[in-house]
């Protein structure tokens, strides 16, 4: 029986394993050094905040693996020997495979800051990071101030986590406005306000210069590049992005760049080895996507695809339209299609913001054809299916706005803003788009 070994029990590895099991009865082994069972990394913050216990982050009950004949092996893979198809573990054990899927995810970036390996300096990626956090920042007595470096999604989550335990936080962000490399200035400004209104000391356009140690080798303070200011802290979070977790592969025969290089079939240069998830790097970026996509959804989709290939139906990885979501403190964010931080040459934008300053939508469309390109929404939930169809059918912004009621996904009885939104567009563009009533028929395609 063919033995499929998967290194990494994150979303991509687990999805691959599940789908291979569904399609075949090959022997499957899931290897991980992090935890015995699959858990949802995205939920780590809720464990620290006391919303959930760690076991709640595990999407499958523990009996699931045995029942589905997916073997679990805990251990850290040290070397991949591609000639003889053997994995070497750091405790000396070995494991033979017929096909290997590398799904080792990411690790937090460190940019060679002086002092970056001190005690109390941590990333926020693995379960072990959460445990360190419990050691160095369990409450505001042990940790009188925490500093976070790097304004991305994980950084703001870490800020929220510490804030939930009433630990004062200073948040150093290199950019002039939060996450403005990804979000347009309007959305970015909303988040700046949200962070500040939660009492977090947000420092924009601020870089970390150096990390200072105390007598026992724990972080004591940080020095700021621009001003030379010293900020005392008991914990420092490094959340300046992630990069593929593939150091142990660098010396092998497998081709790597930033990540493990793969083609559209998620195959590496070695014929029986595949890479998926955060650690995979496309030779050529797909569409407007980046060569490395470190998000949950793409990991899952790659897992689904590679399972097909391994089970004899060689399939190209063809992600559909881009979508993503996040939550910034109390503000939910969803995006469908592309809304770049800076409009491209042929793009035009439409922006509406609610008077509360906590909700907005931002639509990008083609200046000439009016084709809908993408939408960002803050504080209003929207239907994925709706926008997926709009993008596939290349509908115009006028069409999208006229059918905006179909798109709304907020809970029942919520105040709706479609009328106001369409009104604003009509006013700005001297159009007369008429908002259509919500139709179940259209939403559920029952006709």
């Amino acid at each position: 029986m063919e033995h499929i070994v998967i290194i990494g029990n994150g979303i991509s590895g687990v999805t691959a394993a599940r789908h291979i099991r569904k399609l075949s009865d090959k022997k499957i082994t899931l290897v991980s050094a992090e935890t015995d069972y699959f858990f949802s990394r995205t939920a780590l913050m809720y464990v620290f905040m006391g919303h959930m216990k760690f076991e709640h982050t595990q999407p499958y009950e523990n009996w699931f693996w045995e029942k589905n004949k997916i073997e679990l092996k805990k251990g850290f893979v040290h070397t991949i020997e591609t000639k003889h198809n053997i994995l070497y573990f750091d405790n000396g054990e070995t494991l033979k495979y017929d096909k290997l899927i590398i799904a080792t995810g990411s690790k937090p970036n460190k940019f060679g800051w002086p002092g970056q390996d001190l005690k109390g300096v941590l990333g926020m990626y693995h379960k072990q990071d959460l445990e360190s956090l419990e050691t160095y920042a369990p409450n505001n007595k042990v940790c009188q101030r925490a500093v976070i470096v790097g304004g991305g999604l994980i950084g703001i989550e870490l800020a929220e986590m510490l804030h939930s335990r009433h630990i004062p936080v200073t948040f150093l962000v290199r950019e002039a406005s939060f996450w403005n490399g990804v979000l347009p200035q309007e959305e970015s400004a909303i988040i700046n306000r949200e962070i500040l209104s939660n009492g977090i000391d947000l420092r924009l356009s601020t870089n970390l210069k150096e990390i200072i140690s105390d007598e026992i080798g724990q972080v004591k303070s940080v020095i700021i590049e621009e001003t030379g200011e010293e900020i005392h802290c008991n914990m420092l979070g490094l959340t300046a992005g992630v990069s593929p977790n593939i150091n142990f592969i660098r010396d092998s025969e497998i081709e790597t760049g930033k990540g493990v290089k793969v083609n559209r079939f998620l195959e590496t240069n070695i014929s029986n080895i595949y890479a998926i998830g955060d650690c995979a790097e496309q030779h050529v970026a797909i569409g407007s996507r980046r060569p490395i996509e470190a998000v949950w959804y793409t990991g899952r989709m790659m897992g689904e695809t590679v399972a097909q290939t391994i089970c004899g139906n060689r399939l190209e990885y063809k992600p559909g339209h881009w979508f993503n979501s996040a939550k910034f403190m109390d503000i939910e964010y969803q995006t469908y299609g592309w809304v770049w931080a800076q409009p491209k040459e042929h793009e035009k934008r439409f922006y509406w913001e609610h008077k509360s300053g906590k909700k907005c939508i931002h639509i990008s469309y083609d200046k000439n054809t009016h084709e809908f390109i993408g939408i960002n929404t803050f504080g209003i939930r929207m239907r994925h299916d709706f926008f997926d169809r709009m993008l596939s059918k290349k509908q115009t912004i006028e069409y999208v706005l006229a059918h905006l009621c179909d798109a709304n996904f907020d809970p029942e009885f919520y105040k709706l803003h479609e009328q106001e939104i369409v009104g604003k567009f009509n006013y700005e563009n001297s159009t007369s788009i008429h908002l259509k009533k919500r139709s179940w028929k259209r939403i559920f395609k029952t006709n």
Binding site: I11, K22, S40, T42, A43, Y46, M49, G50, H51, M52, K53, H56, T57, Q58, P59, E61, S164, S197, N198, W296, Y297, R300, M301, E304, T305, Q308, N313, L315, K318, P319, G320, H321, F323, S325, A326, K327, M329, D330, E332, Q334, R381, M382, R383, H384, D385, D388, S392, F409, D410, P411, E412, F413, Y414, K415, W440, K441, I443, F444, K445, T446
Partner: protein, 526 residues
Amino acid sequence: MKYLQNIGLALFLLGLTIFTSLIILGNYKLTPVVLDKVVKNKAIKSELFIEIVNNKIVNETFNEPFSFSAEIISAMEVANNAHKQNSEWNKIIWDKPNSFTYVFVKQAGQGIVKENKRLFWWLTFGLGILGALLYIIPNVIVKGPPGVKNNGIWFNAATNRGWIGWFVFVFLVGFYLLLYFCPNYIVNWTYLVDPISELLSGNLASQWFLYGFLYCVVMSVMALRMYIKYRHNKYQILRTSSVLFFQIVFAFLIPEILVRFEKPWYDFKNAFPLDYDFFFSWNLDQLIASGGLGLFILVWGILLTLIIVPVMVYFFGKRWYCSWVCGCGGLAETLGDPYRHLSDKSLKVWKIERWMVHGVLIAALIMTGFTLYSYFSGVATVLGIKVQTIQDIYGFLIGAIFAGVIGTGFYPIFGNRVWCRFGCPLAAYLGIVQRFKSRFRITTNGGQCISCGNCSTYCEQGIDVRAYAQKGENIVRASCVGCGICSAVCPRGVLKLENGPEKGRINSTEILLGNDINLMDLVNQK
């Protein structure tokens, strides 16, 4: 703010302590006049009983309710035994000893509480309410801006099955045991609400009036907590207002007012088989005897169960009842909200749940079948079983132990919908309709789920919502009461409760939205 909350907590605990200690306060002395009154009222025919009471109890002073009750019960037993030996069946006192005794204790009670009903109302209910409000209202500021604020729930001994949770458990179970089985020990509590009862129905308060009043008070206070916690969520606000309205008006005020006009006590929203004694002969007789209104109630009760309930479930899901109308649901969603995450989500418990809840439904139907057969045929025994016995067993096991003691008492241990999930026969019935013939579903928003598990954790019905959401499947489950909390706590906007066309309601797509269309088609074909 914290300071204010601490004062609130202290006042609340003080009120609770006074309330609890009332049990042992006061004297009990049965005067001949009172004895006469009770004998007439209860139509007691046993001279022997009256004689024993006269000799041993009348004009004696007892300084707690326990020994007083014990004396009455022993008199009753002695008399009953004698009558049984002499086959004087009409003289036997058939009442349950403790409820029989209740009337005597209520009448015989004396002392500080009975003489200062209003003062003690303020010292118990008053302090409790004031304290609770002082504790709850500052949360508007303490918990930060509107939004999901479940911070620290799993660290708090009150909400993570810690010692406070167990303490509350013991307290609640104790309360229900007293209420259902020893009302004769809690007459002091009923004195507190006598003035209100007299105002409404003109009668002195029974233990059930006390319970009804307490229920409304607790729900109102905890509803305020819900309003604050979910002030960003209109669905939660409206739903909470609705259950509160139905509890206060339908379950509490209307029935009491009916009694004032000498009509039968009836809660118009309480549908059979939750209202399991609706078809009991005493109820049917009473309804038929009370003229037009009685007949209306009879027809309404039958229509409610057979037509209104299922039709509404077809259009809106069982939530219209369980989360918008029902009293049990109402308490679970207010007093029980802090415990919702304690429900068990495992597959094993789901199996147990299905056996239990449908088992209770079948038991209720069988019992009612026996009851109706005996009612129309006039026989007391069906298939060799006494109908009265079946009713008693059901009333004891399901009506009292399951719905009350376990249903509410276990909030801090098994979560807030223990009764609704494992025991309620009406929920089982609604669930069957919801699962097979309804427009209601929880729509999953394409591929947006990140499997974080907030939804499953906070589902009071123990539904593993994530298991569906992460596969892009809609959630269509018999047990979902449509509380909407899964949707509220989801950080990615994945879930929406809605009533749409039946077609495509259950969508088992294995591959999620987001992937290329070909792949989706390919996998979904299989």
